[in-house]
Amino acid sequence: MRETYGKLLPGMDLSHVSGKLIVIEGTDGAGRTTQMELLKPWLEELGHAVLDTGMTRSTLAGDGIRRAKEGVNLGRVTQSLFYATDFVDRLENEIVPALRAGFIVLTDRYVYSLMARAMVRGTDPQWIRSIYSVALKPDAVFYLRLGIEQLVPRVVFSRGFDYWESGMDLYPGQDMYDSFCNYQAALLAEFDRLSEEFKFETVDAAADARSVFSQLKVKILALLENDSRKQFLSMLAMRAAGGFMPKAEEDAIAAAARKHSVTRDLELVSQPFAAHAPNGNGNGHGAIQHLKPSA
């Protein structure tokens, strides 16, 4: 059963949520967008339906936030709540419906970025946590971590300074560069704290995009495979107990097995995956191969 961080929104049914919620988090310049663009087609090629989402993409509040950020008079509390509106609109209308339909939901940033931004701006941590207590706990949070010494040149040299990315609302009077450095360093410190609290899986984002992608693939496959392995074990347990399994369910499991035997042939899967196998025997595939139904 799926859980939220504390409160359930009215009308939100989490009883049959079969999809996976995968979060890509990180500061500006950590390469989140690049990885999102690589991960989506890759997952689709493996046969998963993917919904990708991210900040300010809601039908309700996306345009409103963009308009509000054109000026420089968006206050700290207002900003937090506008983003919360955007998030909850997507949670209710995109994320949860897609998860219920069995999609993999890939999200570029999640509530953690929003919490970090609010806390760096001096709002009460309890206040912002209470608001996001309605958020769904994800299956995995991959934190693309970039040290401040890499972050600054990456953002500054690629797209220059943006008023909000530089935290100019926080440090008025400073020049954009100083403000940017102070703001991003404060955000990074907040992310590192959140990373411990919410058990992020940290990925070193200083590496080139391709090797970050490889690491993410390994971790995501482990996540997906874990799940299908559980299905196999429960099926075996039922068989051993002489239990009855509906034909449709058995077919679905056989299909999952076929799909994952295909993934095994893909690059990067065999060696790194074994090393990440969480069942302790160091051989993540063994179980699947032996348990595979002799169709």
Binding site: P10, G11, L60, R76, T78, L81, F82, A84
Partner: protein, 251 residues
Amino acid sequence: MGISPGMQSGGFEAGAAIRAATSTAKKRGEHQFPGKLFVVEGIDGSGKSTQLSLLHKWLESRGYGVVFSEWNSSPLVKDTTKLGKKKKLLTPATFSLIHSTDFADRTERSILPLLKAGAVVLCDRYMYTAFARDVARGMDREWVRDLYGFAVQPTVAFYFRVPLETAIGRLLDARDGFKFYEAGMDLGLSDDPEESFRLFQGRIIEEYEKMIPEFGLTVIDATLPIEIQQTRVRQIVKSHISDAVELRMQP
């Protein structure tokens, strides 16, 4: 804005006040600013806006710097709310959040800085409206109260108490029908707008009644003649600003 230049020297830098306000989210004590904050609450048709406008005229005529702020009126946010209502995009949660966003903008941009500057701030509807409506829509009571943790405690919050049938009669006299969200049609209580309004506003009244002791709302019997109600309102307001001579604008 109706306040003298001298009063603006308090500055409009609300950052520190916001920090102070959000960091004391749970214990909402009365603010320490020189200004005064009076708010009116009640269901649609309770006559609260009429009373507030009469109070506004009176305070101005007596030389006070008065500023008025209305629910759902932030220039940054109201377009989004309008879109949500027009296209029926709002769920109880996003209805709650977009209204709190609107309220936050007005708090940060005008209510807080003006209280610091020493103005008398009048609000037509305040956080209690959200507490009543959002909870009537099924939002968690504690969650909504936490959401408004940044709000300033008013000097006096008037609750205009009126029986449902009286309010419905007034509304139907004044206009054709009820709007979708106003009637709580999003809750599917009834297909008939008037019946839905009745059920929804009934729930809202229940929430207001619970808030009277919880927040110390000042109850005004809104079935009394307008003049009698206004006399009471003025008496109460006067008792809170009589010592606040510095609020008066120099002629």
